[in-house]
């Protein structure tokens, strides 16, 4: 088998007496969509934060393509190949859609420390940015201010920005949150199209979407993994049923 | 450098500290809860001092001056919040700085037109103008002891109010998370106005107590304002406890540094250098303290927001 894209080894994190990540190990394989589910407060977002570098684990290691990235900060990890979307959509609200993409494009090219040429009127940047937008179907909204976008479109834009850095693994933190039925379906389609191009770690409460998309599912309860497997494995797992039904 | 002198200077530092705390207590809540950078808090000090001095001069009684000045500053805070400050809540810090800077100019000029540009006469009441021996051979002015006691009493009062009462609980909740407080259905408008007026009132008390020992003149509150902002930052915005501890720290550092630093430098470097550098470093000391605290704890010693 190929090397895992992302591997966590024995990750631990506590806030005071509260243990949010408890000796956690798992992998994300190339091209797969790996869903992370669990009840509220299971420590899903904190885990994402540790992979992303915004929170440092107390102990344990994070590997990207076999290279340890545990000590690195957020920008270094993004450069190494981690992309993410946030729970609350996170785009540059003061900019237009195209400008959002241009900022991402120049960041990807490592050209952000240039002081002379105007960025927003640069043809090659614009072309790259349009390509970014076309991946999520936002080309025709390019001239809209991001603050004018509908909720679902904003999530699409965020996904596009996350993809713009050409990540090896994409962390999606509840991409369907707050979306309407149609928007959710559209998002599901787009994520589905990404399968095989980039490994995805997906946190989502929308179980229909999870079961449709995920190649593998990991269930997290109180900071620990109680089950990992295919959709069928999980829906048949007694431990998962206990955890969900027990807590309900 | 005898023990007596060190003790006496510690008292001086305490007195400076509690005065600072009275100014900082209201300001830290205004900053922490309403998120308003309110530069005109020094004007409340001035209003308090003028009200007390003017009433005392008219009635000939220091205490009547004190007691009438409290409602005056409360009212001024209340009205100010109603007329201007409430419109600044959702503005960014820079706009608040600008608007309240304009307020400073306005109040100073208003006082200057109303009371004339000269400093106002104000003196101690006879009953507070004696001395007590805090140690044999170390007489200390009663008035300054009284200031320390009033300041500490206010501090305890604020502490009990914030930690034990229902309104206090709202205040704490507000400092931790303003959105949540609003969601709890607390009438945030009234709460804000009340906090603002009480904060103004404490600043006014500081001004009243300073009146008899310093010059009552336009702009008298500004040095205190900058120092109390330093206190708030060191203590952590929104934390009354932090403001108290930081105020005492700043009071002590400023006082002891001023007095002992030049002497200490003299034992290390030659006299001329020490005389030059000592006062310079002493006047920078509180700012250095603040910078160092912020470099190691970017949100102060006791950040209220968790």
């Amino acid at each position: 088998m190929d090397k895992s894209v992302l591997e966590l080894r024995n990750l631990c994190k506590s806030f005071g007496a509260l243990t949010v990540t408890n000796d956690l190990s798992f992998t994300v394989e190339p091209g797969e969509i790996h869903a992370l589910i669990g009840p509220n407060g299971a420590g899903k977002t904190t885990l994402i934060q540790q992979i992303y570098g915004a929170v440092q684990p107390d102990s344990g290691q994070v590997f990207l393509n076999g290279r340890e990235i545990t000590g690195l900060g957020v920008p270094e990890r993004v450069q190494a190949g981690i992309g993410r979307s946030f729970q609350i959509s996170n785009v540059l609200m003061d900019f237009t859609v195209l400008e959002n993409a241009i900022v991402a494009e120049q960041a990807r090219l490592g050209q952000s420390f240039r002081f002379l040429r105007p960025a927003f009127s640069d043809k090659s940047l614009k072309a790259g940015a349009s390509k970014i937008l076309s991946r999520v179907g936002l080309e025709d909204r390019a001239m809209q201010p991001a603050s004018d976008l509908a909720h679902g479109e904003r999530r699409m834009l965020e996904l596009a920005l996350a993809l713009a850095t050409a990540p090896k693994v994409l962390l999606l933190d509840e991409p369907m949150a707050g979306a309407g039925l149609e928007e959710s379906q559209r998002m599901t389609e787009i994520i589905d199209q990404l399968r095989g191009q980039v490994a995805i770690l997906l946190i989502e409460h929308d179980m229909d979407a999870v079961f449709r998309l995920a190649d593998r599912i990991t269930v997290l309860v109180e900071g620990a993994i109680i089950a990992t497997g295919t959709a069928d494995d999980i829906s048949n797992s007694s431990a998962v049923q206990a955890a969900y039904l027990g807590s309900a | 450098m005898t023990l007596t002198l060190i003790l006496e200077q510690t008292f001086n530092g305490l007195q400076a500290g509690v005065t600072l705390f009275l100014v900082a207590a209201g300001l830290t809540l205004i900053l922490g809860i309403m998120d308003v950078v309110f530069l005109a808090h020094g004007a409340q000090v001035m209003i308090g001092a003028y009200a007390a001095a003017a009433v005392a001069a008219a009635t000939g009684n220091f205490y009547i001056g004190l007691f009438l000045a409290i409602p005056v500053t409360f009212a001024s805070g209340y009205v100010l919040e109603f007329l201007l400050i409430r419109h600044l809540y959702r503005r960014d810090h820079m706009e608040q700085v600008l608007a309240t800077f304009g307020l400073i100019l306005f109040f100073n000029e208003l006082i200057r037109i109303g009371f004339g540009p000269a400093a106002l006469y104000s003196d101690l009441p006879r009953s507070l103008s004696g001395f007590v021996e805090i140690l044999p051979g170390a007489p200390y002015p009663i008035y300054r002891l009284w200031v320390i006691l009033v300041g500490l009493a206010c501090a305890i009062g604020i502490h009990i109010f914030v930690s034990r009462t229902r309104i206090g609980a709202m205040v704490r909740a507000g400092a931790n998370n303003p959105e949540m407080t609003a969601a709890l259905g607390i009438n945030i408008k009234i709460l804000f106005r009340f906090i603002f007026a009480v904060g103004a009132c404490f600043a006014g008390v500081a001004g009243m107590m300073l009146g008899p020992i310093t010059a009552v003149q336009p702009g008298m509150g500004e040095p205190l304002l900058i120092l109390s902002l330093v206190v708030i930052i060191i203590g952590g915005v929104g934390s009354v406890r932090g403001a108290f501890i930081a105020a005492i720290i700043v009071g002590l550092i400023d006082t002891l540094g001023r007095v002992f630093l030049p002497a200490m430098l003299r034992s290390v470097v030659d006299q001329a250098t020490a005389d030059g550098a000592g006062p310079a470093v002493a006047s920078m000391l509180v700012y250095i303290t603040m910078a160092v605290v912020l470099i190691f704890r970017p949100t102060g010693l006791f950040p209220a927001k968790g």
Partner: protein, 340 residues
Amino acid sequence: MSGIRNLIGLVYEGVKDNRLLWLLIIGFALFPIITHFADLPFWNDVAMRIMLLGMAAMGLNLVLGYGGMVSFGHAAFIGIGAYCAGISQFYGITNGWVHLGFSIITCGFAGLVIGYLALRTSGIYFIMITLAFAQMLFFLFVSLEAFGGDDGMSIDRAEFGFIDLYDPLRLYFLIWIALVVVGMGLMFIVRSRFGVTLRAIKSNASRVEAMGLSPLRFKIVGYVISAVVCGIAGTLFASWQEYVSPDIMHWTRSGELMIIIILGGLGTLAGPLLGAIVFLLLEECLPLLLGAAAPAYAENWMILFGPFLIMVVMFGRGGLIGLLSQLQVRRNARSDHRGP
């Protein structure tokens, strides 16, 4: 050759997009002609002070308006720039180019150190720590007896080779050229990839981080650039004033710069310059106006100035530039109604 043609193209494009800024700057170039024929040489002096403070405000605006960093201590850099000229002269270096070079290096370094330390904090903490550093420098210069302490030091105008600054017009145009250079430089910077990233950080730092960039590095570089611009303004200020004192870096001057920026229009290129024109003319004219209306209260002009600042905040969102563009929109709307 094509490089130069490209550059000219870029300049043309930039000037076209920032017409107001360059109209103002051209206005400053033509101003001495007016004062010459009206025989009002004094107003050249006012114009020089406006250009200098406007230049400093433009520098501050890079961090304040474009970078979202509310620095309350930028007067310190003006002061450092001024003292670079003063101290150089004290040691017998009279060449103005050397002063400027010295000032750029010193302010850049000071900006780097202060920026690096201060940018660990944010919000109100950042406002206060920048103020703290400015106060430290203020007290440092107050106590530097060799350089006049609080009384400051009287200096000669610097020598800029063939430019004799004792000819007031040459000083005027030296300052004007500096304004052009600063205006041009900032125009390029805010439109460049760097400037765009800085604005993106102001809009949403965590998104920029998620693009793999470290916001801190961009902020520090922005801070250093703005410190250098303020330093250049300070060095020329010293030559204009023929005098340097710690007063130039008093905290109220930092406040003044902020007022100028907000008055003119935050995060716009022309705003700070427009703000400086209005602010300083107001400072010049309010006492005269009040003196004419109520002579007994002429010296109390701040009673009008304070509320004026409050009004600017309450009703003048976007500053004068915002006001102008609103007028523009309204006028366009009206002409739209009329049809072609």
